[in-house]
Subunit: 269 residues, 3 copies
């Protein structure tokens, strides 16, 4: 596929925040190399260095974009060390990211994928700083890909990119799973590793959540407003995961559940 | 008017924040359906569910945009319930929003307006989640409108959209009004319901503000720097409302005035 | 140079924050006057009125953009007073800003520059508020420049724009400088006034930092991860300045250094 025929669209996800000049510097480089590319921010508010959180945000957004979109993700606590640079084609999209697990969700879920070590120096800026590869390495690479560079020409195939162990999801019999908290959104909704696909749904009416030594009963609902204000509920979230929520409040705070915490989920009709 | 001849511009206002993937998901959907549309954020930092605050931000920004711009606003605490979806043409613009009062300012102030219930299912995404209509309902609708869909084809006319009671503004004789605080900006300036148009201006030199049992005298000034540092002032703000301000400080904090609080305003020459 | 042949790109930097309608209003005005211009945010989170901080962010970002880009910067505590409006060509770019020192870095460092007082009223909006020149004065000016207006036509040459005294940097013998803290980024890295160019670098291995009555030894490193977690280091930052950093922490907090604070820097091989 020649991306000259792609949409010339680049999404950008980083942990650089919005206080400084970092994201703008990346966009300037992209605008220089791909004058027609349009750029859309996913988020720049990933907590610094939080690869898992960044990966989840990318996982929840990327499929909304048109085929051929270049997804550029930079959460890179190892900047300046020997970690590699990935360029990948997966699910009809192109991805650029450090080889540190940030693309784990995509590389696990998209079966139709090819991954390359993007190591051709001439694709980066002529001068590469040691602390800002977002601008000097990743942005020029994404810009060139959006301008039509085939992914294959970024470097050799990479058979073993870093991919995190999938989140825990183990069936414990009919309607019961060992699972984990995979992340939270800013409203305090807790995303679990149980997907609607895995659960088969089937119209559960109640969730029994075991976290630590507590058992909690949560009604299943279609929307937050279906329970009283401040009430806990379980909902099939918009990214396909079972979510724990509090109507008008924060389930993360209410339940005190941390990312990665193990839980047991029982679905009752 | 056929919007194919419009500017292909979409503004977006939500309460989704910038920490997550929500706004980007909407933009991906829009980019898929309206590949040439350009998107400009108004704000995504409306306090969650604060329809009045979101409506005011939209009111203060929308007229700056070129005619034909599609204004997409999603502050939607009732997502998943039976609240309707509006598509409207007003003042030369197109609006898409939940039918919950978010467009109150526009629908009150723009006399040349037509409002439709956007209920044609085929205009939305094929699969509609119960918790994220921003992505599944509102974004595709806005994208199609920006790509040229006439507003009339979104559904039947809607004679009675939700419109909030206008903010209190009652004349109490020459130069005196009962009014209310309609909102604050991030600098702590308090916007009042008294417009320059209603007041006729006429070069007032002093404002006597009655809030609760306090009377305060504020000099009128053209700009914040016209009074001493920390000093209170009254100023005709850039959106046409009388504003209460503190030079280099926060009138909201200084005066302890809440949104919706009733005040009396006396203008003295 | 006719900017009709420029990239039609406008960067925007302000202290307006992202809570309100201010930045969007500016963008609406630009979109009205320069329908094809693309806009890229540098940052809108400059602390209110902090001209030095805004100037530094602009200094660190602007050269990443393609030649001909219009850089629009509005940090304008003197809005509504008699401060002037600048339009400048410098280093192949166009700049629009209040005449208050915000462009100091650019006007000091770019030798190939011409500065104009942009005072032709017809270039602004017909009605100019006293409190929001970002929308009424600066945005229309930037829009017209991006749409092709030559900088020369904005007003008469301005021989003496406001330019701040350069940050302190005085050689105290081989490898030793009196310098100052010029700013911090959101990670807490402290930028100093010592540039790699001035230092000649030469592979220093250690920095002796004197701040107040303290002497601290910091290893030079290529990247943050080269020292233990929580360890101090000196690094040549991505904008060319010597930076003081803490791996995984905040040097600004750790060292208690304020912007503008004087320090002594000794580089040891």
């Amino acid at each position: 596929m020649n991306l000259n025929r792609g949409p010339g669209l680049i999404t950008i996800l980083t942990d650089f925040g919005e206080d400084d000049w970092f994201v703008a510097s990346m966009k300037g480089v992209i605008a220089s190399l791909a004058p027609r590319a349009r750029m859309i921010d996913i988020t720049h508010r990933v907590p610094p260095g939080d690869i898992r959180r960044g990966g989840l945000a990318l996982r929840c957004a990327y499929r909304c974009f048109p085929p051929g979109t270049v997804h550029l993700a930079v959460v890179d606590p190892g900047v300046g060390t020997e970690r590699g640079v990935l360029a990948a084609r997966a699910g009809g999209y192109v991805f650029v990211a450090p080889d540190n697990g940030l693309l784990s969700w995509i590389l696990r879920e998209e079966k139709d994928r090819t991954v390359f070590r993007a190591e051709k120096r001439e694709l980066f800026l002529p001068e590469i700083s040691t602390t800002f590869h977002g601008r000097d390495v990743f942005a020029p690479l994404a810009g060139r890909l959006a301008a039509g560079l085939p992914v294959e020409e970024t470097g050799p195939p990479h058979p073993e990119p870093v991919i995190f162990t999938p989140p825990l999801l183990r069936s414990r019999g009919e309607g019961c799973w060992e699972a984990e908290i995979i992340g939270r959104d800013r409203f305090g909704n807790c995303l679990t590793s149980l997907t609607r696909e895995a659960a088969g749904d089937g119209g559960a009416a109640e969730l029994i959540l075991t976290a630590g030594d507590r058992d909690l009963r949560l009604p299943f609902a279609d929307c937050y407003g279906a329970v009283e204000d401040g009430g806990l509920l379980a909902v099939w979230g918009s990214c396909g995961f079972l979510e724990l929520a509090v109507n008008g409040g924060s389930a993360a705070r209410e339940l005190g559940l941390a990312d990665g915490e193990r839980i047991t989920l029982r679905l009752r009709r």
